[in-house]
């Protein structure tokens, strides 16, 4: 059972090793002369001003929340879809009720223009 995850575990370990090698080799052998110009985000570019962390528009939040909600809907759909044929008409009605309730919210979001970026 856990053997099925060995591929994922190998991938994680390899990714960590590759990242460590890539950073570690440069750290070990690279010449290190600290200068003020070198620590700038864009050397020989525009001098950055202000904090690097800006506040983002709230629209991103709305998009992220909508994404999560539809993501969770899909999480409910998937186990249902796998056994759909065994469940018969009753399962279909159950899911129809589930979707119908969520459709109200979808139409509300649509009408409010939450799905548009402007």
């Amino acid at each position: 059972m856990l053997f099925e995850y060995i591929a994922i575990a190998t991938l994680i370990v390899l990714a960590v090793i590759v990242a460590l090698i890539a950073i570690g080799l440069g750290e070990l052998f690279g010449p290190k002369k600290k200068m003020e110009e070198k620590s700038m985000p864009y050397e020989s570019g525009m001098t950055p001003y202000g904090p690097g962390t800006r506040r983002m528009p709230v629209r991103f939040y709305l998009i992220a929340v909508l994404f999560i909600l539809f993501d969770i809907e899909v999480v409910f759909f998937l186990p249902w879809a796998i056994v759909f044929r065994q469940l018969g008409l009753f399962g279909l009605i159950e899911m129809a009720v589930f979707i119908a309730i969520l459709l109200v919210g979808y139409i509300y979001a649509w009408k409010k223009g939450a799905l548009e970026w402007e």
């Binding site: 995850y5 409910f76 159950e94 309730i101 919210g105």
Partner: protein, 169 residues
């Protein structure tokens, strides 16, 4: 020790260490990233428990969506993403005591329970957790009511999000 025990201990250490870092690091974005590490450790626990579907859901929904939402929320509410205040408040001693007592109580309770040393029964062959879950979700003797109520909850969250974050026209 079996391989599963080693994996469990390693992931438990990662979960606890990352969880401590979530509350103790001063940089809020770093805290969110440590939260991702914690959630990934929990996904490993699900994998150990043979809950394949929950593992995937944990990674896709919690790490892929909810942690990203946290990072968005941090980035759009705070200009200064560092915490300058005190990290401990006055009640920390009492909280630590209660935490220790709860841990001790749970430890004693589980130590006296004979199931704690038992190995989990092997799953019957042909067992598919997703099929079981799908059947349970719409069967009247199982979770059909919570399943439908969940849609109402999702609807409330959807309308709330649009109302709070939507642009007024």
């Amino acid at each position: 020790m079996t391989a599963i025990q080693i994996i469990f201990i390693l992931s438990a250490l990662v979960i606890l260490g990352a969880a401590v870092m979530v509350v103790s690091t001063r940089n809020l974005v770093h805290a969110a990233l440590y939260l991702v590490a914690t959630l990934f450790g929990v996904a490993v626990l699900y994998a150990i428990l043979d809950a394949t579907f929950l593992t995937v859901v944990q990674v896709v929904v919690y790490i892929g969506a909810i942690a990203i939402l946290f990072i968005f929320a941090i980035m759009l509410t705070r200009r200064e993403m560092r915490d300058q205040g005190e990290q401990l408040n006055k009640g920390w001693g009492a909280a630590a005591l209660i935490g220790l007592l709860t841990f001790g109580g749970l430890f004693m309770l589980l130590n006296n329970w004979r199931g704690v040393n038992a190995t989990a029964a092997a799953l019957p062959s042909g067992f598919d957790g997703v099929v079981e879950l799908g059947t349970a979700l719409v069967s009247t003797d199982a979770f059909v009511l919570p399943f439908e109520v969940a849609s109402v909850l999702l609807l409330a969250a959807l309308i709330g999000a649009v109302y709070v974050a939507g642009t007024k026209k």
